[in-house]
Assembly symmetry: C2
Homo-oligomer: 416 residues x 2
């Protein structure tokens, strides 16, 4: 029995759903729009995609996406599960991508298509490494055995000199932060050479480490071409750094795979560009399907947006992404990664965030304004976030905790 | 004077357009949603994104994309051009991606956003190689100095053994084809090991080459992880092959860049997945912007879909993609690539295709059913396509040519 990969789609079609499903299955395996003599039954049995499930949900008179439809067509929405033998594409994530998310979305029988989930057979866990550090490795390197890692992003996103960046890091480290990341726009320009920036920031990390008994984790954005990324990784490591960061959609799957092979540090994986992959509900990717590919390829920290975020996703969408990230990939190869919450985060959403992880604190909670806006300064901002999380974990209402804890009490005004 | 990159967007916003433009410019450069003391005027001047142009087009009461909008909001559509100093991100395509197409599409002030074009300063042409072969190199290797390269795709897409694939290639080569490509689903599985397939196909190419005076170009799909791609490339080269193929969205930008550094053969770049990047007109990428990144990174042949295609793009969209591909990147670094037409192509669209390229024949015209469906066989199918192209180039109406040329005459029935 050959192992199979499974993909689940939300499909909307102007045609009979079964016929549309057959077209999609055919297009993405052995078929073409002409029937061929050499597409034998034996070949189809071996190499054809199989329709595992087709559930009709509803019909509508309007299509979700523009296309070439017959006048008066009705549009049927359904759930479609397809499977393929892994013999079709081998144990290869790029070829899985081309199979489950290749030339499907533009088919004429598709007026809406979204990939919801992807199930890969366990042989993928023996071929792809998954995260090298994940939750346990990140906690160890950051010296934070329990609770959420309270993090932040260096701002302004871009434009600071290395020295200015170092000063920002100093403020944050003195303020008690666990985790600092570059903005994804902080790349490498003449005003802020990578090596100078890493040196300036790591000087602050080291200076505080004796007092703190830990090195604050800093995710240095090294997004770039492969040799640049490797060289920068080596430099971060040489300076005693403990984390690197990349923009997944910018480097692509081969980029992450090669970086994972090279790295001796956790990979903080930024999903910028996610909007163009997901913003229309009838097109593109659900996070559940998308994130599995990157997780398997080696991401250690994966961005999930945040509850109450300043972007367009609803809290329910965020919660669904979180559920996907904390689920094990396979029971015997869970490949646990750290979900990263960011975007307008404050202590007001600590309890809802804690609920979204099913009461796990294995996460990075990154706030910017939620820290810097504190009237008593950065240290009070960080303290207020910790107090909010403590309250959430203890099940104490935030207002009650705010009346007991000074920093939290001071924070409530500017958070709301 | 620092050089700047420019990106043009179609933007729809529930807010005042100028304010939305400022938010986007801020988010994608030095700003954040809180005003910061260290975001000085000098820093903003140096690192801020600049609004170069904002043209209001129209308003609507309905948003193109769902989001968190105020009740009764109106939605204004406009053209927005932003520019950034290259000092922000360096001469780095991955960082350009994260800047022009990062965390923008999900902003709350965005109810629709599509990147239309991207203008990079000439320093990119000195840093990135562009195509190694392009049009001239492809023509030379394929031994086709003039006219379109008539091509086809091995079908069934996946499932044939190496020997069966060799037999398909033999039929096509005997039929007079110029170019053969794998389907993007043809990866590497136990039923069709890469090396065996290349050997079987190249045997046919070599056997015919004396008679033809040229080696038919075969684009072998080697999509995979980097080491696999390099090893397969070397094998194709060792067997005398003249082309390799990859799925761009599956391997990503670092994958193509590394392959370009390694390759001694033209790279046939497949765009499968394009639908999820582009199918909704108010979201994602126009081909003009998207293709430039891959072209600069080293693609030699770039898919543009086809006139009269079986997918969802209109002929006007295809023609616009073609215009983008045939335009020079820079006047002194044109980086010309071969546009690849495919999807339901027949001789019926030869004239329209020729018009779409502004009467250039520097293209690959790939037909499947348009060749195999010919009642007199593959050779007649190929001949009919050439006759249709000859007629298009000579300005002879197709019906008239069909009455003069046997194969073309026979083809008209099954094409229509």
């Amino acid at each position: 029995m050959t192992e199979r990969i499974h993909a689940t789609y939300w499909l909307e079609t102007p045609e009979d759903p079964l016929r549309a499903a057959q077209t999609i299955a055919g297009e993405q395996s052995s078929g073409t729009f002409l029937s061929l003599a050499n597409e034998t039954d034996e070949l189809k049995e071996r190499s054809g995609a199989r329709i595992e499930r087709l559930t009709v949900l509803e019909t509508d008179t309007q299509p979700s996406l523009p296309g070439k439809y017959k006048e008066g067509a009705t549009f049927t929405r359904c759930l479609l599960e397809l499977s393929w033998s892994i013999d079709n594409m081998g144990v290869s994530l790029p070829n899985v991508m081309a199979t489950v998310a290749g030339n499907l979305f533009e088919l004429q029988c598709v007026s809406g298509l979204r990939i919801l989930d992807l199930q890969l057979p366990p042989i993928f866990a023996r071929t792809y490494p998954g995260p090298a550090f994940g939750i346990a490795g990140t906690r160890q390197l950051a010296g934070v055995p329990n609770g959420p890692l309270i993090g932040t992003i260096i701002k302004p996103s871009v434009g600071l000199s290395p020295e200015q960046t170092g000063l920002e890091a100093r403020k944050l480290i003195q303020g008690g932060i666990d985790f600092i990341k570059d903005d994804e726009l902080q790349a490498v320009g003449p005003h802020c050479p990578f090596e100078d920036r890493v040196r300036a920031v790591m000087r602050e990390v080291h200076q505080a480490s004796d007092r703190l008994g830990r090195k604050v984790m800093v995710a240095f954005n090294l997004t770039g071409e492969l040799d640049d990324m490797k060289r920068r990784h080596d430099f971060v490591q040489s300076q005693g750094g403990t984390c690197i960061m990349v923009s997944l959609n910018a480097i692509g799957l081969v980029g992450l795979h090669e970086l994972r092979r090279h790295t001796a540090l956790p990979i903080h994986a930024h999903r910028n560009g996610w909007g163009y992959l997901s913003r229309h509900p009838a097109l593109g990717w659900d996070y559940r399907a998308w994130h599995k590919i990157w997780r398997l390829a080696g991401a250690d920290h994966l961005h999930v947006n945040g509850i109450g975020n300043k972007f367009s996703e609803t809290d329910e969408q965020v919660a669904e992404s979180v559920r996907a990230v904390i689920e094990p990939m396979w029971s015997d190869a869970p490949m646990h990664v750290m979900p990263v919450f960011s975007s307008g985060q404050t202590g007001l959403v600590a309890a809802a965030t804690y609920a979204s992880t099913s009461n796990s604190q294995d996460l990075i909670f990154a706030a910017g304004g939620g820290i810097f806006g504190h009237p008593a300064g950065v240290a009070s901002g960080v303290a207020a976030l910790r107090q909010a999380w403590d309250a959430a974990v203890a099940g104490v209402p935030l207002q009650q905790a705010a009346s007991e804890k000074t920093e939290l009490g001071q924070a409530m005004g500017f958070w709301s």
